[in-house]
């Protein structure tokens, strides 16, 4: 019997409407730019000059280096974590989940307070330019790689390690016969994902990059908003779209795991890597991993702790952040609910559109369209909310889509037999079964929006100051200690939400 037809969710008009809403937002962003380009000489507006190549080269080089520096040590740290059990193992795994939840600007501030200080490690690393960008990217992506590889090694059946122990495999043989067959599939995808995140990175490059260290995303923003060179921006944007499209296609389903995984906390006993040399190497790797993650977190807490204050500025910024975060997360839920149920390439493309079409391009299109309303605070806030929702959509869908798929496999035939559909099915089946992943997705959308500096930079004006933009303003005015306090507040907010989101994860779901 062919059950595939039944297992496909029906495409209702709500789904269609939501997808069209996303699609038209993206197109609305592109139309004014293309129109401008055409009105200024058509294809000749596209320019592939040396400057463009330089930007592309830097984007690829820094993304490549960041990826190598994250993936290779990440692989060995994950292996060490999987082989060795020790007190604090679970806590260290949780620690590796922290960077993913932190807003980029908070991490930038923490890094400047360690490596920007001439008396500390300053001079060792040139923070503004290559060094800072790599450092920040590795801080975010090394722990991500560790978690993804560790999760992959958790999927290996315990029998494989027991069998290896019985057959007296050496560590090398365990690696080639047991670990590598699993990693072989995931290493290229994790690499593509991290490469994508680094190639499209905006806030880090904007704040830490110098005039020579500029990526496509930042260069698009600069040429549109500072130089008003639309031809150049379109050229860069086109390159960025092609690059991101390829990377999204390569990373595939790893996307889905990057934000949700928390580890099942059950250590699987291993019989390899128990020799003293292996133990020493593993311990070294683990300490190295902790040293990448801990110092910025420590700096964040120690410099911000005494500065935690609720000034009127902080209060109003919190209000903006929470409000924008809340509405944008709600919007995300509605959009994701309607795009996550289909698995065809069109729906997936819609869900991932903000990863493929650079937010800088989209936002500029909107910015031009909204020029007549530029005095309206409501319109500015609305556009910020919309861009936030679009940027978070890929990640929110990545939580909801597998949850939908799992439940559909379990319950859809029964629902079809009982003729449950529409509102009845939503109320009696979908909502009770889906509320955990729904809350989790909401929190994720919320975290991404309250920590966002991209949409604010691209669309905001002086009237809208959120927590991340307040941090940036305070940093810019050399009020480092105020910035540290604000950053700690934002970090705490984000981490509390991330912790809650993890508690709502599927592994706690009895269903």
């Amino acid at each position: 019997m062919n059950g595939s037809k039944l297992l496909m969710a029906e495409r209702t008009y709500q789904h269609f409407a939501a997808q069209m809403l996303v699609l038209s937002s993206v197109i609305l962003g592109l139309v004014p730019l293309i129109w401008f380009a055409i009105s200024r000489g058509g294809l000749s507006a596209f320019r592939l000059d040396a400057g463009v190549w330089d930007v592309l080269a830097f984007t690829l080089e820094q993304a490549f280096l960041s990826t190598v520096l994250s993936v290779v040590p990440g692989l060995f740290i994950a292996r060490a974590m999987a082989r060795q059990n020790f007190p604090g193992h679970t806590w260290l795994l949780r620690l590796f989940a922290v960077p993913t939840a932190l807003p980029a600007i908070v991490v930038v501030l923490a890094l400047t307070s360690i490596y920007g200080n001439k008396h500390l490690l300053g001079g060792w690393i040139e923070l503004y330019g290559w060094g800072g960008i790599l450092l920040a990217h590795v801080f975010f992506n090394l722990p991500l790689a560790v978690r993804l590889f560790y999760e992959a090694s958790e999927q290996i059946a315990p029998e494989n390690f027991r069998l290896s122990a019985q057959l007296s495999f050496t560590d090398k043989e365990v690696f080639w016969h047991v670990e590598w067959p699993v990693l072989r599939n995931i290493v290229p995808r994790v690499s593509a994902l991290i490469f994508l995140l680094c190639a499209a990175s905006f806030v880090i490059v904007l704040t830490l990059g110098g005039p020579t260290a500029t990526t496509l995303e930042v260069a698009i923003y600069q040429s549109l908003r500072l130089d008003f060179d639309i031809g150049r921006a379109l050229t860069l944007g086109f390159i960025q779209i092609v690059l991101c499209f390829v990377l999204v296609a390569l990373s595939g389903r790893v996307m889905l795991q990057s934000v949700t995984h928390a580890g099942n906390q059950l250590f699987q006993r291993r019989f390899d890597g128990q020799g003293s040399v292996s133990r020493f190497i593993d311990l070294t790797m683990i300490v190295f991993g902790a040293l990448v993650v801990l110092p910025p977190l420590f700096a964040l807490v120690s410099s911000g702790f005494m500065q935690l204050q609720i000034s009127p500025q902080v209060l109003s910024a919190s209000g903006f952040s929470l409000g924008i975060g809340f509405v944008s997360a709600c919007l995300d839920l509605i959009l994701a609910w309607n795009t996550a149920q289909q698995t065809d390439w069109f729906s997936q493309g819609i869900a991932l559109s903000a990863l493929i079409v650079p937010p800088a391009v989209m936002a500029t299109g909107w910015f031009i369209l909204l020029q007549p309303f530029s005095d309206s605070l409501i319109m500015v806030i609305a556009s910020i909310i919309a861009l936030n929702a679009l940027m978070a959509l890929p990640f929110v869908v990545s939580i909801l889509a597998p949850a939908f798929e799992r439940r559909r496999k379990k319950h859809d035939r029964l629902c079809a037999q009982l003729a449950l559909s529409g509102w009845q099915k939503l109320r009696n089946i979908d909502l009770p079964l889906m509320w955990r992943p729904l809350v989790q997705s909401f929190l994720l959308g919320f975290i991404l929006s309250i920590g966002d500096l991209t949409a604010i930079t691209l669309l905001g004006n002086q009237g809208v100051v959120t927590l991340p933009s307040l941090i940036q303003i305070q940093m810019g005015h050399y009020r480092g200690s105020d910035a540290a306090g604000t950053a700690l507040l934002l970090a705490i907010l984000s981490l509390v939400c991330a912790w809650a989101a993890q508690r709502f994860g599927d592994q706690y779901d009895p269903d």
Binding site: A157, Q166, L167, P181
Partner: protein, 234 residues
């Protein structure tokens, strides 16, 4: 010979008391409810789990701190007994050399074992292209080339059809006689125990009971744990 004296296993809230003697070349079935600790017993013997206290001797030798590879034991699991990226022949050859470097005599051993379990025509296939029963035969062929005296089976045929299950069980019985193996098999099927086993060990209430003959086991009356396991009404 398997001898476990006054032994205690503990993991979190689970504990298992074991005091047990299994004679050489016996075929013993391990029965008990899910989660009673049947697989744990096998893991302890194979060296995948450690005892809190007590003594474990296999064929007369004390096993404390002896790693799994050095024990006179082969174990077959319900699943994942073969590596999917290696073909059938290589999977068996791993039992002789983990680096897959075999001399001519050893290659002949692998060929012979595959003939014995009826898989010689599948030697070049990957495990993904043979049936579940055939994959378990690969594991049995590997047991033959490893030449360990004790064979532990953890529900190895649970996923197979009844007819196939009986064939496999008979194959294990034959191999046991040919190679003088001591067999300890966890099963959920009392029928399997009755068909193949000389003795039965019952695991319940955190305790591994002494082996008794299958006849005695199935004719026992008024043992609450056994009755409720077998679904007998009193």
């Amino acid at each position: 010979m398997i001898l476990i004296e006054n032994a205690l296993f503990k993991k979190k809230k689970f504990s298992l008391y074991i005091d047990l003697h299994i004679k050489s070349e016996n075929f013993v079935a391990v029965l008990g409810a899910s989660g009673a600790g049947k697989s744990t017993l096998l893991s302890i013997i194979a060296g995948f789990e450690d005892l809190e206290r007590g003594k474990l001797c296999l064929d007369g030798a004390e096993m404390q701190n002896i790693p799994p590879a050095k024990r006179p034991v082969s174990m077959i699991f319900q699943d994942n007994n073969v590596f999917p990226h290696l073909n059938v022949w290589d999977n068996v050859a791993l039992g002789i050399s983990p680096s897959l470097k075999l001399n001519e005599a050893q290659k002949a051993q692998v060929d012979g074992a595959l003939v014995r379990v009826g898989l010689s025509q599948y030697a070049a296939r990957k495990p993904g292209n043979i049936s579940g029963g055939e994959r378990q035969r690969v594991a049995l062929a590997r047991v033959l080339v490893r030449k360990r005296k004790i064979l532990l089976l953890d529900e190895p045929f649970a996923a197979l059809d009844p007819g196939l299950r009986h064939d496999m069980l008979d194959l294990v019985s034959d191999l046991r006689r040919e190679h003088a193996l001591t067999v300890l098999m966890v099963t959920h099927q009392p029928g399997e125990a009755l068909r193949a086993a000389d003795e039965i060990i019952f695991v319940a209430d955190g305790k591994v009971r002494e082996p008794i003959t299958s006849k005695t086991f199935f004719s026992m009356h008024d043992d609450g744990a056994i009755d409720s396991y077998l679904g007998k009404t009193r």
